[in-house]
């Protein structure tokens, strides 16, 4: 694990590590506020938009179908209106679609961020100080010297090594 205080140095370190063969999956940056990397340095592909849209359509569709079934199951004429109409139910379709997207987004966020997944208890989590960005590299033993070299070369402060069982 290494602490950085300046973003360009951190970015250089990451690029160098990737060039040395470390996978982006094994890299984690810890900070007290979000770090905006340029494109291509530490991209995390996200399926959140897709999940939100799918969740929205599914919920909206189910709700509309539910209203259709309910209206026909207990069909009482009122005011000369049709028992079920898409126009009349439009509001409910719309709102439940939105509700679906809200719940899917939140649910997927909990999953994608890793907050709700089972954590590997052995992996160390650094205490982050304000203004500091901590880079954690997960690699096998033989690579450690090379990693150390890159990190020192990039200007990291406080490089530490933690054993993982």
């Amino acid at each position: 694990m290494a602490d950085f205080r300046e973003q360009p140095k951190l970015e250089a370190a990451i690029l160098a590590l990737k060039a040395a063969g470390i996978d982006a999956e094994d890299l984690d940056v810890f900070s007290e506020e979000p770090v905006e990397f340029r494109r291509g340095i530490l991209d995390r592909p996200s399926r959140m938009s897709l999940v939100a849209v799918v969740g929205a359509i599914v919920t909206g569709g189910l709700a509309t179908a539910g209203v259709y079934a309910a209206q026909h199951n207990y069909s009482l004429p009122t005011g000369g209106m049709p028992i079920f109409s898409f126009w009349g139910t439009g509001v409910i379709t719309y709102e439940t679609t939105m509700l679906g997207s809200v719940l899917s987004t939140f649910g997927w966020f909990l999953w994608e961020s890793g907050l709700l997944r089972k954590r590997d208890k052995n992996v160390p989590i650094p205490t982050v100080l304000p203004g500091v960005m901590c880079l954690r590299v997960h690699c096998s033993d033989p690579l450690i010297p090379r990693v150390r070299q890159i990190l020192d070369g990039a200007g990291a402060t406080g490089v530490a090594r933690k054993e993982v069982a």
Binding site: Y74, L76, T78, G80
Partner: protein, 228 residues
Amino acid sequence: MEHRWGMSIDLDRCTGCEACVVACHAENNLPVSSPEQAEKGRTAHWIRVDRYYEGEFPDVRVKYRPVLCQQCDNAPCEPVCPTYATYHNTEGLNVQVYNRCVGTFYCANNCPYTVRFFNWFAPEWPEPLQLQHNPDVSIRPAGVMEKCTFCVQRIQRGKRDAATENRPLADGEIQPACVQSCPADAMAFGDLNDPESKVSKLAGSGRSTLLMGELGTKPKVFYLERAK
């Protein structure tokens, strides 16, 4: 064929005596208001007689119009009730289901004839009026909406009697309390699906008008008056 109940009121015969109002009170267990509540606008008259004054003294003319629930076929009050406490039954009646009413007041706001009434308190009758209750009609609790039902209890009784005696319903056999009590014989009630009934003939006559018919509510109370 299903019945389709309708009513006609002859405005040229109506004298404004309000016997219909009293009869309705007696038949349908309407609650009695106090003067204070009346001042606040809380009386309930399922049928009321509106008076319109025209001209200056001494050439004043008064016109009377009994207004009751028009049992509209396109009732604006029905679609807005969230619990189906009011809906249209197969005989064309706009039924009010007291048990299902939660008191959202939406139906009353949407009625252009303002013929819906709310039970602001639990109903009370000064002694000994409570002995006069009609057992065929439920007492409404506080918090529910009510309105004219075309005396649905009399309709049910009439249909039941005809069925037990194995005969068809005769025209004029079923009369709501207001129709029955009118001394000027201004009101008629019957089956609009029966072309021979008195109501059908009057409704189709040249003197037949609808109250605010232009709103498209398709009311089933036909007001007969001389065309001006």
